[in-house]
């Protein structure tokens, strides 16, 4: 770990350092806004460093790369964390979250995601993944007052720990079959001729299971609805936008090196993607709880992203990265609106709570409607361009049947996305049940949601700029 290597890892260190600094400050300084300001400054600094200061050495310690691909994702995750910090100021204060811990944990999660995206070796991936997963265990149950939070935390923890064990064993087996953790070479273990090929394949199987759990693909997705429902809205947003995105960005690197091995994996990926799309859509149909519906919708969307990965060529990866950026924006936006709507006595989760919201909260409701249409993949939102890219990738890879399953899923998914829009705009005039009337939402929250709204619409109408930037990464 020469000085040069440390220097090229500087942006991540800035994030991690800031996290520790805030943790310490938190003991004395209980004023949340200033800590949030510090956190956002840290993120901004990390982002600026990543973009402006060229790294000296491309790979750090054989585990993390500092190439443009990693830097792009660092900027993205820094932005996600900064956004979460800003949009949850009122939410955290209302629930008397410990300011120091709240900001530091979020920053550390950002650092972990950046590391995961930058991983070029199985160890790097393992460390990055575990870094922010541990933080998420705490963040999900952060709201001590809510039983649901504890239950969600518990479920995520137990399942997460088991998945980590499976992941570790997978890494061990791949290491055993290939002799190295470094990714492109580690894949050699699976190649046709090598004697320890069975070990490699089993190792790959276990990796896929762990990845499946992390990005909530169907057989391993059961935790998703409960955790989204229990976790505080900002954390659920981070979970949807950040954790799944970071995992997939690592998977893109993982699969890029596999080349020939893809032939073995395609049936599995095909099955996982198809199942996720279909069963996710079916499960979401009957949901009355908005957060559970968004959870199942994330299962479906991960199925779409996986469909993009089936195309080994660069276009497929471009489509996946674009999809991840879009999905981050739309998830943050949707959960941002939920955060803005949640008042003192809790978050508005039941559909009934949203009845007639379209007329009482014009901006936030309109934003939520656009996010729903974006998730449904209807132009002119970014969702359409994302789906277009993924469908093109699937057809180019010759998986027309999967594309048809995707079409069926996105058609049926329209129903439950529209259920929310209908509740907001088209239900009878009556005011919502006394339960939790929607909170007005502060200007800061409205601004954050506005940023996401602008992003989603811009991706829909003029995705050219982002597509070019992503093209230059791969």
């Amino acid at each position: 770990m020469s000085l040069a290597e440390l220097f090229s890892l500087l942006p991540v260190l800035v994030l991690a350092g800031a996290s520790l600094l805030v943790l310490m400050l938190g003991l004395w300084l209980k004023h949340l806004p200033s800590l949030v300001a510090l956190g956002v400054a840290a993120c901004a600094a990390a982002g600026a460093l990543a973009v402006l200061v060229p790294p000296e050495v491309m790979e750090v310690g054989g585990m993390f790369s500092a190439a443009r691909y990693a830097r792009f994702f660092l900027v993205l995750w820094a932005g996600v964390v900064a956004w979460t910090l800003l949009s949850s100021v009122r939410y955290a204060a209302a629930r008397r979250f410990q300011p120091g811990e709240w900001v530091s944990l979020l920053l550390f999660a950002g650092a972990g995601m950046a590391l995961l995206s930058a991983a070029t070796s199985l160890v790097g991936m393992f460390l990055g993944l575990e870094a922010f997963t541990l933080v998420l265990y705490i963040l999900i149950a952060f709201h001590r007052g809510s039983a649901a939070g504890t239950e969600a935390g518990l479920k995520y923890l137990v399942l997460g720990v088991t998945a980590t064990a499976v992941l570790a064993f997978g890494v061990a087996l791949v290491y055993a079959s290939a002799g190295t953790f470094h990714l492109p070479e580690a894949m050699a273990g699976v190649a046709g001729d090598s004697p320890l090929r069975p070990l490699g394949l089993l190792g790959w199987g276990m990796l896929l299971v762990a990845i499946g759990f992390k990005v909530s693909l169907v057989p391993f997705h059961l935790w998703t609805p409960d955790v989204y429902q229990g976790a505080p809205a900002p954390v659920a947003g981070l979970l949807a936008a950040g954790s799944k995105g970071a995992m997939f960005s690592a998977v893109v690197g993982l699969l890029a090196g596999i080349g020939l091995g893809l032939r073995d994996l395609t049936p599995v990926l095909w099955a996982l993607s198809g199942l996720s799309m279909l069963l996710g859509t079916l499960a979401a149909l009957r949901q009355e709880n908005v957060k559970r519906m968004l959870a199942y919708s994330s299962v479906v969307h991960m199925g779409f992203v996986l469909m993009g990965l089936l195309d080994a060529g660069p276009e497929g990866q471009e489509a996946v990265v674009f999809y991840l950026v879009f999905y981050a924006l739309v998830s943050l936006g949707a959960f941002g609106v939920l955060t803005a709507f949640s008042g003192e006595e809790g978050e508005p989760q039941q559909l009934a709570a949203f009845r007639g919201a379209g007329y009482r909260h014009p901006f936030l409701a309109a934003a939520l409607a656009v996010f729903m249409l974006a998730l449904a993949g209807v132009p002119p939102t970014g969702g359409f361009m994302a789906k277009l890219g993924v469908f093109a990738a699937a057809i180019r890879a010759g998986h027309l049947p999967l594309a048809l399953v995707g079409v069926l899923a996105s058609l049926v998914s329209l129903v439950y996305y529209l259920k929310l829009v209908i509740a907001m705009y088209m239900s009878a005039e009556g005011a919502p049940p006394s339960g939790s009337p929607l909170h007005r939402g502060t200007r800061l929250e409205a601004a954050c949601v506005g940023v996401c709204l602008l992003g989603v619409l811009l991706l829909g109408l003029a995705p050219g700029a982002l597509l070019d930037w992503i093209g230059s990464l791969l």
């Binding site: 649901a148 479920k155 720990v161 061990a172 609805p225």
Partner: protein, 101 residues
Amino acid sequence: MIVPFAHVLVVSAVMFVLGLGAVLLRRNLILILIGVEIMLNGVGLALVGASALWQRADGQVLVVFLMALTAAEVAISLAMVVAMKRRKGSLDADVFRDLRG
């Protein structure tokens, strides 16, 4: 290698499966966590074996990482156990059943 890698692999696989069995069959949360620890130790063994097979040290480095990681997990898990005990008074993993459907 003093012991053929296959034997190491079998032992670690057995430990992994036993740990998984404990996780699945046991209801008490602490015993589930113990099961996970057993699985992780199995992984550690496999890693050491593989590192010996390939005569490279990075396998063992990962084992050290693994131990540190396991310690952190246990800390958080126990914190969760304490929170659960205070809230529900029981350690049965299935006692939490409000979030479903």
